[in-house]
Amino acid sequence: MEFLLDLRQRAAWGGMLLYVVSAIYVCYLGVRGALPVPVWNALFWIILLFAAFNALVRSFQREDAGRQVYLYTLAGPRSVVLARTLYNALTMLVLSLLSLLFYVLFLGTDALGEAQVGQFVLVVALGGVGLAAVLTLISAIAARAGSGLGLMAILGFPVVLPMLLSVMRASKGALDGLPWSVNSTYVLWIVALDVLTVALAWLLFPYLWRD
C-alpha cells in the first residue's frame, strides 16, 4: 500500500487548525463561565464535526485528472481508498486531540470534574477516526459530482449522524464517570461501525473511480 502524504500541504493543515481554534475561541467569547456537562459535550462535537467536514472535503479534490490516472494505475482503487481513509483517520486523530487540548484550555475543565479522562480521550480519538472513515467515501462522491462543501455537508450529515450520536453518548458517559464495563458497549459499537464503514468504502470505491 502506498502512502499519499499530503503533509507538505502545510497551508491546508494550518487552515484546519486555525478553523478549530477560531471556532473554539468564538465559543469561549460567547459562553463566559462554566458550561453544564451536556452542553460542553455537545459543543465540542459540533465543533469537531464541522472541522471534520472542512478538513476532509479536500481529500479528493486536490487530485487533478493526470495525477488521478497515475495513482490509480500505480496502486489500484482499493489501495487508494484504504490509504486515503488511513491518512484521513490520522488527520482527524491529530485534529481531534488538538481540538480537545484547545477546548480544555479555553473552556475550562469544569466538565471534566467527574470524568473518566482516559475513557473520554479514547472516545474522542475513536470518534475522530470514525468521522474520517465515514466522510472519506462521501468526500469522494462529492468530488466526483464536481461540487464542494455544500454537497458534501448534505450527503454527509445523515450518514455521519449514527456515528455522531453514538460518539456523543459514549463521551457523555465518560464525562459522567460511568465505569468502563457500562460504557464499553458504546465504544465497541463505535469500533464496529468504523470497521463496517471502511469495509463498505473498500467495496464501493472501485465503482466510483471508473469512468
Partner: protein, 340 residues
Amino acid sequence: MRHWWKLLGAVLVVGASITALRVPLAPALVHSSADRLAPGEQAFRITGYNTHFDQSVRPYVWLATDDAKFCATTVQVEGTGSLSATFDIPNGLGGQLAHLVVFSPTDGVLPLYDAVWTGDGGTPLPDRNCDVTPLAMKPFDFSFPNRSLLYETIRNLNFHVPMWFTMMLLQLVAVVYSVRTLRSNSLRDDDAALQAVNVSLLFAALGLITGSIWARATWGAWWTNDTKLNGAAVTTLIYLAYLVLRGSVPEPSKRARLAAIYNIFAFVLMLVFVMVLPRLTDSLHPGNGGNPAFSQYDLDDQLRLVFYPAVLGWMLVGTWAFTLKLRLSRLEHALDENDR
C-alpha cells in the same frame, strides 16, 4: 389474473382501514375517584370506558392484592360508564398497592392496576371473601385492547407501523436496483432505484405524520428525542440527500453510478443504526429500553387480525405505486427519445 395482487392489496388496505377505525375498544376502567385508603366508610366513584354497568346484574367491586380480595359493601350503578362502590376500611392498613377490580357478566373482569395505595406501614389488606368468582366469561366480542395512555389511539398501529414497513420494503428494492446499476451500468436500473426512493419518501412522510399525531396524543409532544425518531429522521434525510445528489450531477451515467454508491453506503449504515442502536439505548417505543413489545401482550389476537392484513395490504399498494411510477417514467423517457 396477472394483477390479482394489486386487487388484493387494495382490498386489504380498504378493509383493514375501515375495520381499524370501526372496531370498538374493549371495556376498561379508566379512573377511580380516590387513590388512597382511609379508615372507615369510603366511597369510590369508578369511571369505565365502553362498559355496560347498567345492563346486567349489579357488578361486583373489590380491591385485590396478590393474596387478598377485599369486597365493597355496597355498589351503586350510576350509568353505563360510572358506578360508586363503598368500602368499609379497617384501621391500621398500610404498605400495599392494590388493584381495583370490577366484574360484571357483560364486560367481564376489568382491573385498574395499582389503583390504590393503602398508606405507609401497617398490616396488609385482609381477605374479606365475598364469593366472587368470575363465573361467566364475557361473550366473544371483537374489540381492540384498551390500554391506559393509548386508549383509542391504539387504532393508529394499523396505519403508522405499515407505513414504515412499506417504506423499508421500497428502500430495499431501491438498494437492490442500485447494486444492479453498479453491475450492469444500465440507466433503466438506476431509474427503477430512483422511483423506489420517490415512493418510499411518500411512505416516510405518511409514517412521520401518523407518528407525530400519535406521539402528541400519548407522549405529549409532536417530536421527542427518541432513537426510533432519530432513525426516522436519518432515513428521510438520507433519501432527500440522495435526490440532491442526483440533482447536482448532469451526466446520466455518472449520476447513476454516484447515486447507486451513495444509496448502498447510506442504506447499510442506516439499517445498522435503526436495527442496533435502539437496542443499546432507551426508547419510548414498545419493545425497546425495557418497554414491553406490542407482541408481548398489547398486540392481542384481535388487533393482529387487523394489523397483519394492513401491513401486507400497504406493502402491496406501495409496490403497485412503485411499478406505476416506473412505467410512467419509462414512458416519459421513451417520449423524450422520440422527440429527439
